[in-house]
Symmetry: C2
Subunit: 405 residues, 2 copies
C-alpha cells in the first residue's frame, strides 16, 4: 500500500487526527527506516468487561496492525495500585499486583479476539513510573502549568461549577504523557475525551527530544438506543463475550441509521463501500434488513467465528422471525439468592419467577421437553449461565418470561 492508501485505511472512523500531515510523514519516515510505527492505547487495570463501545478503539489498533505496525496495549497499573486516594469512591480501593495481572489476563482473552498477538506489546506503566520516585514526579510536574491543565474540558467545567478537583487528578495527564515518552510512541489512540491528554504527550515528547506522537481519537459509540453512549449501566450494550444468539438479536434491533454507523465503527469495510450500501438501500437495490443481517453476521463472526455467526442467525430466524417467541412477555429480575451464581437450579428458578406452581410441576415439564432457555430446549436440573449473558428467555409450556441477570 502507498502511504496515501494507508492513510485512507487509518482515517476511517476517526474523530480527529492531529495531524494528518504528520501521520503521513511518519508513515513515510518509518517505511524508509524499515521500522513499524509504535501505536499506543491506554487501558485502566480494573477488571475489564468489554463491549462493542471499547472495540472501536481496539479495532483502530488492529487497522495499524493490518498495515504491519505495532500496537502497544498499555495497562495503567500505577493508577490501579493507588485506587481512589480521596477515599470518596468505595468502588476504587487499591488493587494488588496479583489482581492487576489477573485482569491483564482477562483483557488478553478479550482483546485478542480482535488484535494480532504477534504485533501486540502488552506493557504496564509501573515499569517506568514507579522508578520516577518523589524527585522524578516533581520534575515531571514542571512540564505543565495550572492554567494549561485547567483548560481541559472537564476540569474547566468542574472548576467553574465550584466542584472540587483534587491535585492528584492533575498528575494523571502528566504520567500518561510520560508513558508516551517511555514507549517512544509514534501514535496514541484514545476516545475524544482523551484529546487533551494525547496532546500533552506530544509536548512532553518534544521537550524530551523525541518526535511528537500523532494523536488520533475515535468517537464514542452510541448504544442500541442510538442516542446514549454504549454502556453496561445503561443496558444498551453488546458485550463482546455475550453468546452469539444474543449478539445477533441485539444487532437486529438497532435502527437503520445506527446500522451504517456501526458498519463504519465496527467493521473493516471502507467508507466507500458503506456509502454504496446506503445508496443501494435508498434505490431499492438492497434491502436494509439484509444489510442488518450482514452486519450481525460480521459482528458475531468477529467474536464467535463463522459457526457462532451461523448459530446466532439460525436462532434469530427461528425464534424471532418465525414468531416462536411472543413479542411481549413478563420481565423479571433474577431472584437475589441466585445472583452471581454461574450454575443455577432451573426448577427453582421456574418456581421462583412464578412460571411453575411447584417444584414437582417444574420437574414434570423439564422431563416432558416443555422447557427452553434462550430458544434452546433444556432438560437438566442445573443450567450453566453463559458468562456475559444479560438475560434468560424462559419458556415453560405455553408460558414465557424474560429474566434479567
Amino acid at each position: 500500500m502507498t502511504v496515501d492508501e494507508q492513510l485512507d485505511y487509518l482515517r476511517k472512523g476517526c474523530a480527529e487526527i492531529i495531524s494528518e500531515d504528520e501521520l503521513r510523514e511518519r508513515l513515510a519516515l518509518r517505511a524508509v527506516q524499515g521500522r513499524p510505527l509504535r501505536v499506543k492505547a491506554g487501558f485502566d487495570p480494573t477488571a475489564p468487561d468489554l463491549h462493542l463501545g471499547h472495540t472501536v478503539l481496539i479495532r483502530k489498533m488492529k487497522h495499524f496492525q493490518d498495515l504491519g505496525h505495532t500496537a502497544i496495549f498499555l495497562i495503567g497499573d500505577v493508577t490501579g495500585l493507588i485506587g481512589d486516594p480521596t477515599g470518596r469512591n468505595s468502588t476504587r480501593p487499591p488493587m494488588t499486583r496479583e489482581q492487576i495481572l489477573e485482569n491483564a489476563e482477562t483483557y488478553k482473552r478479550q482483546v485478542f479476539k480482535i488484535l494480532d498477538r504477534d504485533r501486540t506489546e502488552i506493557r504496564f506503566n509501573g515499569e517506568w513510573l514507579l522508578e520516577l520516585g518523589t524527585v522524578g514526579m516533581i520534575r515531571l510536574c514542571a512540564n505543565a502549568t495550572i492554567a494549561q491543565l485547567l483548560e481541559r474540558d472537564d476540569f474547566t467545567r468542574r472548576y467553574r461549577q465550584g466542584k472540587p478537583i483534587s491535585l492528584h487528578e492533575f498528575l494523571y495527564p502528566l504520567t500518561q504523557a510520560q508513558d508516551s515518552v517511555a514507549l517512544e510512541a509514534d501514535v496514541e489512540l484514545g476516545g475524544t475525551d482523551q484529546t487533551f491528554n494525547l496532546l500533552l504527550g506530544r509536548e512532553l515528547q518534544a521537550s524530551n527530544g523525541q518526535l511528537r506522537q500523532i494523536a488520533m481519537t475515535v468517537p464514542i459509540l452510541e448504544g442500541l438506543d442510538g442516542k446514549q453512549k454504549m454502556s453496561k449501566s445503561l443496558g444498551n450494550y453488546i458485550g463482546i463475550c455475550e453468546p452469539p444468539e444474543v449478539m445477533y438479536r441485539k444487532v437486529m434491533q438497532i435502527s437503520d441509521d445506527l446500522m451504517y454507523r456501526y458498519y463504519e465503527l465496527l467493521t473493516d469495510l471502507s467508507l466507500a463501500e458503506i456509502e454504496r450500501m446506503r445508496k443501494d438501500a435508498e434505490t431499492g437495490a438492497a434491502h436494509p434488513m439484509k444489510l442488518k443481517h450482514d452486519l450481525a453476521r460480521r459482528i458475531c463472526t468477529d467474536f464467535h467465528g463463522p459457526e457462532g455467526a451461523a448459530k446466532g442467525g439460525n436462532v434469530f430466524r427461528r425464534v424471532v422471525q418465525n414468531k416462536e417467541v411472543p413479542a411481549e412477555m413478563p420481565e423479571l429480575d433474577l431472584p437475589p439468592e441466585m445472583r452471581g451464581q454461574t450454575v443455577i437450579r432451573i426448577d427453582k428458578l421456574l418456581r421462583s419467577v412464578g412460571l411453575a406452581r411447584s417444584g414437582a410441576e417444574a420437574n414434570r415439564k423439564l422431563r416432558a421437553n416443555a422447557v427452553s432457555v434462550n430458544g434452546v430446549k433444556h432438560r437438566e436440573m442445573s443450567y450453566d449461565v453463559p458468562s456475559e449473558a444479560s438475560e434468560l428467555v424462559l419458556r415453560f409450556g405455553k408460558k414465557w418470561a424474560r429474566v434479567r441477570l
Copy 2:
C-alpha cells in the same frame, strides 16, 4: 512559668498565631504529659548568608527553647536536589548531597549563635519525602484541591495576571505539610508569606489523625532604610557574620522609630519594657541615642559576645563620634580582579582605587603606620577580608575611601 506567662513570652513579635487558644491548650497538654513542644521551621538548602531579617524567626525558635521546648531546624533538601526543573532559573541548578550537607554545616555555624544546640533537632526532609515515591506523591496530592491551592495569595495573583504557575509549584505546599506530619510538629513557624502552607500542614495532620500544629508567623523585618524588607540585594541589611564594628555602626544609623521595631523583633525584651523605653525617651527620662547604643550593644553581643560588642562600641565612638573619619568620602567598588578573594594585596588595592600614586608610595605609607582598614591600623602587605564584611574603609595618610565589597 504559668501557661499564660509562656504565652505572653511567645506572643511577642508574632504577626499571627492560629490559634492562640490552641497554643494555650497545647502548652498545658504537653506540660501535663511532661513532653516538650516540637517547634518546626523550614529552611531552604541553598548556601545561607543569614542577616538579621532571618533571625526574627530563629529568635522565635529560641524563645520556645528558653521555655524548654524542642526546635526543629528543617532543611528542605529534596527541593535542593531538584533545583529549578523548568530550567528557567540558571541560579538554581540541582545540588549534590555533599553541597547540601556543607550548607547545613554553614547553617549550623550561623544559627547556633542564637539557638541552643541541646534543644535543636536538625532534620532533612529527604528522610521521609524520598520514601514516598511515585505512589506516595500521588496519594499525598489527593489531600488538596486545585481551587484551594489557587487561593494562596501569590498563586491567585499570578493566575489572574496570566503568569504561568508550573504544576510542580503546587507540590511544594503539600510536601511542606507532609513534613509536619512526619515530624509530628506542635507548632510551625514561618514568615507571614508562609501562612497558607502552615495551614495546609494543620489540615494534613488532622487527616492523618494527629493534633493540628499551631501556625505562628513572624513579620518581615524592615532593612536599615526602615522601608523595604531587609535584603542583601537591597544593601539595607546587617549580616550576622559581619564584624562587630560594622554591625554596631549600622545599628547606630537607623531611625528612632525603627529602633523600637528592632527592639521588638531582635531582642528578648518584653513589650512592656520596650513601651517603657519609648515613654522614657518621650518624657526625656532617657536619651534615644543611649537606647540606640544599648540596642547596638545587645545585637553585637548576640553574635560576637560582650568583647565584640565592646570593640564595636569603641570603634564607633572613636571613628565616628570623635570625627576621626570624615562623614563624606569617595565610594568605590572593589576592583574586579580582587572580587571573591579572601586575602587581598593591600598595596595593590591602595593604588587601584587611586589613594596611592604607585606601589612604592603604598609600601612607604604601610611601613610608616599611615594606613588603616575599617578603623584599625594595618602594616602588612596582605589583608584577610573578614567573611561577610560589606565594605572596607581605607585611610591612606590624610586621604580616605570607602570600598564596597
